[in-house]
Amino acid sequence: MLTVTHFIFLSAILFCLGAVGVLIRRNPLIMFMSIELMLNAVNLAFVAFGRFLQDLNGQVFVFLILTVAAAEVAVGLAIIVAIFRARESVDVDQVNSLKG
């Protein structure tokens, strides 16, 4: 019998993998992909709860998160491209101009 717990636990696993990806990698592009993975895990939780509580609001939330994720990726990748242009490298450790 497929229960909501199955989906929520899968969502938790994917979220943790995304969090580990952000912590473990130094490549900003892959850190960014990991953030997308975390957003997807949250989406899965929303849809699963919506399905098992028989409420469509969860799907509307996913729709809105999808839009925010698209905007976020566009702006984030533009920032990465701008940093690359300025420094000829995208190592996260070299972006420290604001450091006191």
């Binding site: 473990i24 490549n27 899965l44 976020e72 990748l77 690359f84 995208v90």
Partner: protein
């Protein structure tokens, strides 16, 4: 039967997510992420949310991932070259990840979940139509958030143009 389908796609999703954070080549990571997106789309179909499944494939696998691949090709960052991890970074990251999954597992398996009480029963959805019901909700209860999303997209477009514009010399 449903259970087998769930385990198949859950396995694919977890394996591909692991591949995404473990593979060294950014292009391979992006392809693994595509696999995660497709597996999740299949799970959305299993959760009787076909519209979200299609939107997932179109927006995530179609638009967002293509953007990633474009930027990878543009910058060609063969990064993570040796100089990579800080001392202790890997161990700490895995440790924190493990702590997080233990916490989440405790919450997930001890939580008392509410029972179904909404109106969107499978019969109601079959009669109403999934996309129609979603659209009606989006343009009634969620009208303001929906309009704000359009503003957000406009801001994102303008922001991207400003960020990637080449500055003139002396500016």
């Amino acid at each position: 039967m449903e259970l087998y389908v769930f385990y198949l796609f859950a396995f694919i999703a977890v394996l591909a997510a692991l591949g995404m954070i473990a593979l060294r080549n950014p292009v391979h990571s992006a392809m693994s992420l595509a696999l995660v997106f497709f597996a999740l789309a299949a799970l959305y179909v299993l959760l009787s949310a076909p519209f979200i499944a299609v939107a997932q494939v179109m927006v995530y696998a179609g638009a967002i991932l293509i953007l990633f691949v474009f930027v990878i090709m543009l910058l060609n960052p063969d990064l993570d070259q040796g100089a990579g991890a800080l001392p202790g970074q890997r161990i700490l990251a895995v440790g924190f990840g493990f702590a997080l999954i233990v916490e989440l597992a405790l919450v997930v398996f001890t939580a008392v979940l509410p029972t179904a009480r909404g109106i969107a029963t499978p019969e109601w959805l079959a009669q109403q139509g999934d996309v129609q019901a979603l659209g009606a909700l989006l343009f009634s209860d969620f009208l303001l958030p929906f309009e704000i999303t359009s503003l957000l997209l406009l801001v994102a477009i303008i922001g991207v143009i400003v960020l990637t514009k080449k500055h003139k010399a002396g500016n």
